[in-house]
């Protein structure tokens, strides 16, 4: 159980209070329809919150079920895989934990907690590849400079060394607090203001904290896409917009900003497609559609 603290991204998970994040996915059933049409659907942000709550209650199987729904809905979401890894670790399903962390590392090769989590799972499986993760962490510690989380690296390294030496030993990190006060809310609000001030890199760091707290919430993902786009990282931005739309297909902000990205790339046909979706979603009109329309009409954003 102690490793849960490690795997739950100590210092990154900004709170377990995701709570009721979004509208519940509509449960289904009954009526004359195909199972695929009437089966339950899940809101990934809500499932993320459920998984966190289940972890908090140490109901690891329930946590894994919810986390699995997150990764099913948003397979490119790093946090979902890390959460699944943590839940499987708690359930002592080491193979499941290994698979989840491997997927996380595929998305984010430099994620410290995913590396630590994978190392821990491999150690419990007595797989010698656990040493590769330890070596990776040590190398990262050796080159840890500005912006590098040295404390986290130290604790992950120590935890993994301990697991390798004694795979069944309890974790020394058992008693660390899981809940860090109110950081998720504050991070989200900060990020909105920072984006308006054009401080995109700082905003991204705050959005990371918000995302860790609330999971693949389309609002957070949309802002991550927005900030990356403003920094000229169009492909990264597109990935976040797609994740947001996978979580909420009619998300107005994601449709608007993805449409703007398409305008910036010169893809006016694609932008108009986004606008058409927005117009369908905005029966009574909305700022998102108006803004995207003005981008399309002008062939670019304000100032062009």
């Amino acid at each position: 159980m102690g490793s849960i603290r490690v795997l739950l991204l100590a210092g990154v998970i900004a709170g377990f209070a995701g709570g009721a994040a979004l509208a519940a996915g509509s449960g289904g059933g009954g009526g004359m329809s195909l199972p695929s049409e009437s089966g339950p659907s899940y809101d990934p942000a809500e499932e993320y919150a459920k998984a966190l709550a289940a972890l908090d209650a140490r109901d690891f199987k329930a946590a894994a079920r919810s986390a699995q729904r997150v990764t099913d809905a948003v397979p490119q979401n790093l946090d979902g895989w890390k959460l699944l890894g943590a839940a499987q670790t708690g359930a002592e399903n080491w193979k499941g934990a290994r698979r989840a962390y491997e997927r996380a590392i595929k998305i984010a090769p430099d994620d410290l907690n995913a590396r630590g989590g994978l190392g821990m799972a491999l150690a419990r499986l007595k797989d010698p590849k656990a040493r590769d993760q330890l070596d990776w962490l040590k190398a990262r510690s050796a080159s840890c400079g500005a912006g590098c989380n040295a404390e986290l690296l130290r604790s992950l390294t120590a935890e993994l060394e301990r697991a390798l030496a004694e795979p069944t030993a309890p974790s020394a990190r058992l008693d660390q607090p899981l809940i860090l006060a109110d950081a998720g809310d504050a991070a989200y609000l900060d990020a909105v203001g920072l984006i308006n001030e054009g401080r995109y890199e700082v905003a991204l760091a705050r959005l990371d904290a918000a995302r860790a707290a609330f999971g693949p919430h389309p609002d957070v993902l949309t802002y991550q896409g927005f900030a990356h786009r403003k920094l000229g990282r169009f492909e990264v931005a597109e990935g976040f917009y797609r994740q947001a739309l996978a979580a909420a297909p009619d998300h107005r902000g994601a449709l608007e900003y993805y449409g703007e990205l398409k305008v910036e790339r010169g893809d006016l046909v694609g932008a108009r497609r986004m606008l058409a979706r927005l117009e369908r979603a905005c029966t009574y009109g909305c700022a998102e559609a108006e803004t995207l329309r003005s981008w399309i009409d002008a062939g670019g954003g304000p100032g062009r």
């Binding site: 709570g19 308006n196 009619d250 998300h251 009109g285």
Partner: protein
């Protein structure tokens, strides 16, 4: 209530208020038996009396000028004042309009926006949450002024109103440059708010009739607009007014379907107005004629709608 739930509710309000969530509209399906919050609940203080805050509104203190041109301009301003799309950025996305803070053209003692207010009836208008240029990095909310109060209490003289309002729309709320007639209309509307014109009653019920009148008045303003940009904005304001009816009928699916069909026809009129296509007047007239049956239908079900204060008190306090 435990700490986690309180935090979750607080976050829910913040996200709702900031306006990116849109989960309900994304599904396009409003539950027929589980009331969901009205949009304005996103900027109410926790524990606010919903029947008082959403079931009643201040009466409007609006002078009625003899000059028909001025009267038309005031109507344009009145519609724009109630249209969230006048503002830009996060405010528009949250659904905030001028009227959100200045209900009935006065003030709003219930207004409390997360991250923007220190107490009910206050707002920080120099925040980066809403503005790319006016954020000062300090939470310094001020009491929302009553626009229909004594003139001497307002800092901006009438002659400076056009520039002041433009700065508010474009800089304070990141809105697009409004058409000149809309800007003049807003200035004329605010100038026409006068304590001498206040009805004897300080407030009145929020009603279907009042919201339907907002729709009709916005469309009348569209029909008299002298330029396509203003006409387009006025039809947009009518659509926004129709939304305020829709959310009150959320438990009545047949009525909301009819409202949305009417809104889609208005969207088509707005698209035509955007291009300056002729025949807007006729289109509006036909829409108004056709909508009479909808109005009767809505009136017949008003007792089941969220215009009834007793139903308002059943609303869940948070957006799901």
């Amino acid at each position: 209530m435990d700490r986690r739930r309180r935090r979750a509710r607080a976050l829910s309000r913040i996200r709702s208020a900031i306006g990116l969530t849109l989960a309900l509209t994304a599904s396009g399906a409003l539950a027929s038996d589980t009331p969901t919050p009205l949009r304005a609940m996103a900027w109410l203080a926790p524990g606010a009396d919903l029947a008082a805050a959403l079931g009643r509104q201040p009466t409007e203190c609006l002078l009625k000028p003899d000059d028909p041109a001025l009267a038309r301009s005031i109507e344009i301003g009145r519609a724009a004042f109630r249209d969230p799309l006048l503002l830009g950025g996060q405010a528009a996305r949250a659904g905030l309009s001028c009227e959100s803070c200045h209900a009935g053209g006065r003030d709003n003692p219930h207004f409390r926006f997360p991250g923007l207010s220190a107490g009910s009836g206050t707002a920080d208008v120099t925040t980066s949450l809403f503005s790319r240029v006016r954020g000062n990095g300090v939470l310094d909310p001020k009491p929302i002024p009553n626009l229909a109060g004594p003139r001497a209490a307002l800092k901006t003289p009438v002659t400076a109103l056009p520039a002041f309002i433009r700065g508010l729309v474009v800089e304070e709320f990141d809105g697009a440059e409004p058409p000149a007639a809309v800007l003049k209309g807003l200035s004329d509307y605010v100038s026409a708010l006068d304590p001498a014109a206040c009805p004897s009653a300080r407030d009145e019920p929020v009603s279907l009739a009042g919201h339907l009148a907002d729709v009709r008045r916005a469309l009348a303003a569209a029909a008299t607009a002298i330029d396509p940009q203003t006409a387009e904005r006025m039809v947009g304001a009518a659509r926004a007014a129709l939304f305020r009816i829709d959310e009150r009928y959320q438990a009545l699916p047949a009525e909301t379907r009819a409202l949305r069909a009417a809104a889609r026809r208005l969207a088509a009129l707005q698209a035509a107005a955007r291009t300056g296509a002729p025949g807007l007047d006729q289109g509006i007239e036909i829409w108004l004629t056709d909508s009479q049956s909808l109005e009767r239908r809505l009136a017949a079900r008003e007792a089941q709608s969220l215009y009834v204060p007793a139903h308002l008190t059943r609303l869940r306090r948070d957006r799901p």
